[in-house]
């Protein structure tokens, strides 16, 4: 029921025009308020704390929907932040996540390429395993210089860095990776339906291009990868859990990221030149797919974690490792 309600808000408020406006520096307040004032940021907060107490399985379709709509505000991160903070109250405003913040010798903290770093009010960061809440009003923000990207690098001087609010800092990168996996799955769904629709409509040589076998086979392979990404993302969001387990999230992020090049390039190839224009909506998703593949580490990072864990494990077979530690 939450999914339907959020879907309705997204259809109404998160339009391609609204996305473009926010990407171009416009205010995100209207869209953010529509989500925040309906209480959706508290979906994972406990029922005692006035939340809906959803587990990961229940929240998963909502995170996918955010990706499917290319939501240009950190709603997923803000929902996850409440799960990571536990009993600690979340601050007002947009909270985003930084899984790999670093403290320098002078006590300053920097976090590179923070998702929504350009517009967020607060960052929930992992600093050496500690969970730290940082106020973006006190940060030096450096834009990525990538057109349309809402990511930014942030730096806080030592006096702007407060005391840790928890010891579960390691979970930030894991949860953030899982969120990006779900977002990738959602954006891929949208790109697939756009591409399938385009191939049914676009006529060349007297027939819809989807009638050509060469096109059909590309769409079939794209469908295989979209199916893989959807199921892989879901692995990180299991019933009864509040925080994604490391290896399930690693699998989700690695496998979704690995399909980004094929899915994005096939969608663009089949759309032809219109697909790379600013005014056509395909780019809203393909730009994000590439950004999200790199966010929190690509498949090169997460596959290595899985591989090293397995090689240090005693499971006699890869399948047994998968069944015991990932599924």
């Amino acid at each position: 029921m939450f999914t339907e309600a959020i879907e309705a808000i997204l259809v109404d408020q998160c339009t391609p025009a609204a996305i473009r406006a926010i990407e171009n520096g416009g205010s995100a307040t209207a869209l953010w308020s529509a989500l925040a004032e309906s209480g959706f940021l508290e979906l994972m907060a406990s029922e005692d704390a006035g939340g809906a107490g959803l587990d990961l399985e229940a929240i998963f379709p909502i995170f996918v929907a955010f990706g499917r709509h290319a939501l240009p505000v950190p709603a997923a991160q803000s929902i996850a932040a409440r799960a990571l903070l536990g009993e600690v109250a979340a601050p007002q405003g947009m909270v985003t996540l930084a899984g790999h913040a670093r403290r320098a010798d002078d006590g300053s903290v920097s976090a590179g390429n923070v998702a929504f770093g350009a517009i967020a009010d607060h960052v929930l960061a992992n600093i050496d395993g500690q969970l730290v809440l940082l106020d973006c009003a006190r940060a030096q923000r450096t834009a990525t210089g990538i057109r349309g990207s809402l990511a930014a690098s942030l730096r806080w001087t030592s006096d702007a860095v407060g005391a840790p609010v928890g010891g579960n800092g390691e979970q930030v990168a894991v949860f953030s990776a899982a969120l990006h996996a779900a977002a990738i799955a959602g954006a891929m769904e949208r790109m697939f339906s756009m591409t399938l629709g385009y191939c049914n409509d676009r006529v060349q040589f007297g027939k819809a291009i989807g009638k050509f076998q060469a096109i059909q086979h590309q769409l079939s392979v794209m469908a295989e990868h979209v199916a893989c990404a959807g199921v892989a993302a879901e692995l990180a969001f299991q019933a009864g859990e509040k925080i994604p387990p490391l290896l399930a999230a690693a699998t989700a992020k690695a496998r979704t990221s690995a399909s980004v090049p094929l899915v994005a390039s096939t969608a663009h190839a089949l759309h032809g030149a219109i697909g790379v224009t600013e005014e056509f909506d395909l780019q809203l998703y393909s730009r994000r797919l590439h950004e999200w593949r790199m966010a929190d580490g690509s498949e090169a990072y997460w596959n290595r974690i899985v591989g090293e864990t397995m090689l240090a494990h005693t499971a006699p077979s890869v399948l047994q490792f998968v069944m015991e530690e990932i599924l």
């Binding site: 059909q216 469908a223 295989e224 690695a254 496998r255 997460w302 591989g307």
Partner: protein, 385 residues
């Protein structure tokens, strides 16, 4: 999103099926003789009639067939577990495989009571091994163009023609052949029927064909005016095309389309644990691990549909196409990884396993339907054809 993709939601095997896994592991621990990885890598190409009979004694041949015929009557989930465990262990399952997976279910679905009474108990006892006569010298992916012909005669049929690439015909007792019983090849799907052929009959010549690994798992079968009794016909005359497609759905929907190279993956993992590994090795094997976790989840999703009594033909084609890509990628990537440093010795067992799979892996995307056939099926499922 297309309806096809909506089928792929994360699903779990029920607890009973996981409990059953323990029984399978115990059976394999006592009944599966140790073998070199290059031998185990043959799994469902590995023929061992004695192993198949032991499995039959345990009640696990004819796993989906009704108990009244001696079948195990297992649901789709337990079948998944049994097949998964046997393939992961590299058990030589070829002898009973076709009968268990395809021919038995086909006879059970389309056969007469007399045919069921005759064939099914023999299959379940591990006494009747089957092969499938589909391809012909001039009929491969274009299966509807078969020319082998059965002509009605007094008391039965006369069969003339040729089948090729028939897996284990030389070691099977029966073949279920797709043949033309009326019309001409130009009539395509019309006029095709399925006949069960006793391979000991006069007029049948079976010539094994040696493959590039030195194995002879498939063969060419010639029928020279072979007399078959009336009851050789399975199902209805002229329904062969429909029946063969139902049969291919059995063939494509199991977990066997993911695990053809996992013996190699496990062997390499053990070698890396012993000899140490580079970051690139860890990333590569980690990538196969995350891919295996994903593909197995897709396969469980298909199994869930089977267990609900649906016929997920297109979903199965999708999993098979990307599953065989995974199976083929494993030897290709490990071959490069172990030879990344030519001054380091390669473990001999590992080397032989890599070589076997590199050589045979092109067949993974041929058997049970080529990539092009499967992608055409997916496209149809997407509404493009």
């Amino acid at each position: 999103m297309s309806q096809l993709l909506e089928a792929f939601r994360l699903a779990r095997l029920p607890e009973e099926a996981e409990a059953f896994r323990q029984e399978v592991r115990e059976f394999l621990a006592t009944n599966l003789a140790p073998a070199a990885p290059a031998v185990r890598a043959r799994t469902w190409m590995g023929f061992d009639a004695a192993f198949s009979r032991r499995l039959a004694e345990r009640g696990w041949v004819g796993i989906t067939l009704p108990a009244q015929y001696g079948g195990a009557g297992l649901d789709a989930f337990r079948r998944f577990v049994l097949v998964e465990e046997m393939l992961a262990a590299g058990a030589p399952v070829a002898a009973h495989w076709i009968a268990d997976r395809q021919s038995g279910p086909l006879i059970n679905k389309f056969g007469s009571e007399a045919q069921k009474d005759f064939y099914l108990p023999r299959i379940c006892r591990g006494e009747a091994f089957f092969c499938i006569g589909m391809s012909e010298p001039n009929s491969g992916s274009d299966l509807a163009s078969v020319r082998t012909r059965a002509t009605r005669v007094e008391g039965g049929w006369r069969l003339t023609g040729r089948k090729i690439w028939t897996t284990n015909a030389q070691r099977s007792h029966y073949m279920i052949a797709l043949v033309r019983t009326s019309g001409t090849p130009g009539d395509r799907q019309g006029g095709l029927s399925q006949l069960v052929v006793d391979l000991s009959l006069p007029g049948i010549n079976i010539r094994p064909i040696v493959d590039l690994t030195g194995d002879a798992h498939f063969s060419e079968v010639t029928f020279d005016d072979v007399f078959l009794k009336e009851d050789a016909l399975i199902g209805d005359e002229g329904s062969g095309w429909m029946q063969v497609n139902a049969e291919l759905a059995f063939e494509r929907s199991g977990p066997e389309r993911l695990y053809s190279s996992v013996v190699l993956l496990d062997t390499w993992m053990q070698c890396l644990r012993q000899t140490g590994f580079s970051p690139a090795d860890a990333t590569l094997i980690g990538g196969f691990t995350t891919q295996l976790a994903t593909l197995r989840s897709l396969s469980v999703a298909v199994t869930t549909k089977l267990a609900r009594g649906e016929s997920p033909v297109v979903e199965a084609a999708l999993v098979k196409d990307i599953g065989t890509e995974f199976e083929q990628a494993i030897p290709a990537a490990i071959e490069a990884a172990v030879a990344a440093d030519p001054t380091r010795a390669v473990d001999a067992d590992l080397h032989r396993t890599i070589a076997y799979l590199s050589q045979i892996s092109p067949t993974f995307s041929l058997r049970g339907g080529t990539r092009e056939i499967l992608r055409g099926m997916i496209a149809r499922g997407l509404g493009l054809r």
